[in-house]
């Protein structure tokens, strides 16, 4: 129970920081909407549904990347990560609290982005929404670990996309597959498996990322 209380305290802190600073969620919202608007004009009118779904997944991925790049900004200032690492709570609680807060930001961005996609391109099926929900978990799990890794580096802005995008390829494969295939169950299962594996790996390895 104390572990969950630590996670809740850390996630609540991130949500409060965003409410005060408002520098992550508005940027994510603006980015995802701008991307959809730009592609609405870029793609020819007779473009396939497949191409439109691809645009959706690219927009989600890069919107998430924007949020991930800012994930540890508050901790970098004043070296707060040292303070959290020194606390006697399990260090994986830092990862889980941060991942949950990012998940909230991403879901909020998608609450606006998915209806906008439906308006600009084509309707969304339940399988696409399910795939987006599963992808969000994987993105936040692995992305938070990599953001924690990148924050210690001088080239953090460069390092995060270089680490994150290759690891996000299975998410795109599963997401696009679930969105366009006749039998999306297999792709949804694939996304769920990705989530489980990477959440476990990230949870277990975060301690080694934030300590020497």
């Amino acid at each position: 129970m104390t572990y969950l209380a630590d996670v809740a305290a850390l996630a609540r802190k991130d949500l409060r920081l965003e409410l005060r600073a408002r520098d992550t969620l508005p940027a994510m919202l603006l980015f995802v909407l701008s991307t959809l608007v730009v592609f609405h004009f870029v793609l020819p009118g007779e473009s396939s549904d497949l191409a439109a779904k691809g645009v959706l997944w690219v927009a989600i991925l890069f919107t998430a990347l924007l949020g991930l790049a800012r994930a540890f900004v508050a901790e970098r200032e004043q070296n707060v990560l040292d303070g959290l690492v020194l606390a006697p709570s399990d260090r994986s609680a830092i990862w889980l609290g941060k991942a949950l807060a990012l998940l909230v930001f991403l879901v909020l961005a998608e609450v606006i982005a998915l209806p906008a996609f439906a308006a600009f391109f084509s309707g969304l099926g339940a399988e696409t929404v399910a795939a987006v929900a599963l992808a969000d978990i994987g993105i936040c799990a692995v992305g938070t670990l990599l953001a924690g890794m990148a924050v210690a580096s001088r080239a953090r802005e460069l390092l995060l996309p270089l680490l994150f995008l290759p690891l996000a390829i299975p998410i795109v494969v599963g997401g696009v597959g679930a969105s366009v295939a006749d039998a999306p169950g297999r792709y949804l299962g694939f996304l769920a498996l990705y989530d489980a594996i990477f959440a476990l790996v990230s949870w277990a390895s975060f301690e080694y990322v934030v300590t020497e």
Partner: protein
């Protein structure tokens, strides 16, 4: 208790600490001095468990929950108020009667009136006072203080003198300072880094 034997720390090719030996009892007060770049902060990070030695031995018997660490930076969120910052740390350190303890520390360090202001609006001296509140919040048995007097005005420094004297019998101390005379009456051991 902290015991260092031939302690060494390198960052890549750069050797920051070399052949450091000292022993600090549970009621000891170690004063670490040395010029800028001599490795004082690195030594404190090693003692706090934020860094690992690359050579020699370092034994720290205190658990993480019993260590209070004051760094160069305040280790607090700028967008949170003093109360919110201390409440977060109080939860993570499972401080009993958290609110009372936070209120007592804020009052003692002269931050009560500014308790609902964001830390980002604090002056450097107020941030240092808040950082001291954070380091003392959980009643640590080992206090690791990196330049605790920096940025404090005369009142703040006198306040810290009183705090250290009061805590002297209840905790072990590792303190770096450029003004060793200030803590000399409390010191039981000295380490000069070159």
């Amino acid at each position: 208790m902290i015991r260092a034997r031939r302690l060494e720390k390198r960052y890549g090719d750069k050797r920051v600490l070399r052949g450091i030996d000292f022993e600090l009892a549970d009621d000891g007060f170690l004063v670490v001095t040395g010029p800028n770049g001599s490795g004082k902060t690195t030594l404190l990070r090693l003692c706090a468990g934020l860094a690992v030695p690359t050579g020699g031995e370092l034994t720290v018997t205190h658990e993480r929950a019993g260590v209070g660490f004051l760094a160069h930076e305040s280790l607090v969120y700028r967008e949170l108020t003093a109360v919110e910052n201390l409440d977060l740390y109080g939860r993570l350190y499972r401080v009993r009667e958290r609110r009372e303890r936070i209120g007592m520390l804020l009052e003692r360090f002269g931050l009560w009136e500014a308790r609902h202001q964001r830390a980002g609006s604090y002056s450097r001296g107020m941030l240092q006072r808040l950082a001291l509140c954070r380091a003392l919040l959980h009643g640590p048995e080992l206090l690791i203080l990196d330049e605790p007097y920096s940025a404090l005005d005369e009142d703040g420094a006198a306040l810290l003198d009183r705090e250290l004297a009061e805590l002297r019998d209840r905790a072990a101390f590792v303190v770096t300072t450029h003004d060793p005379a200030r803590v000399e009456p409390l010191a039981t051991a000295r380490l000069a880094l070159a």
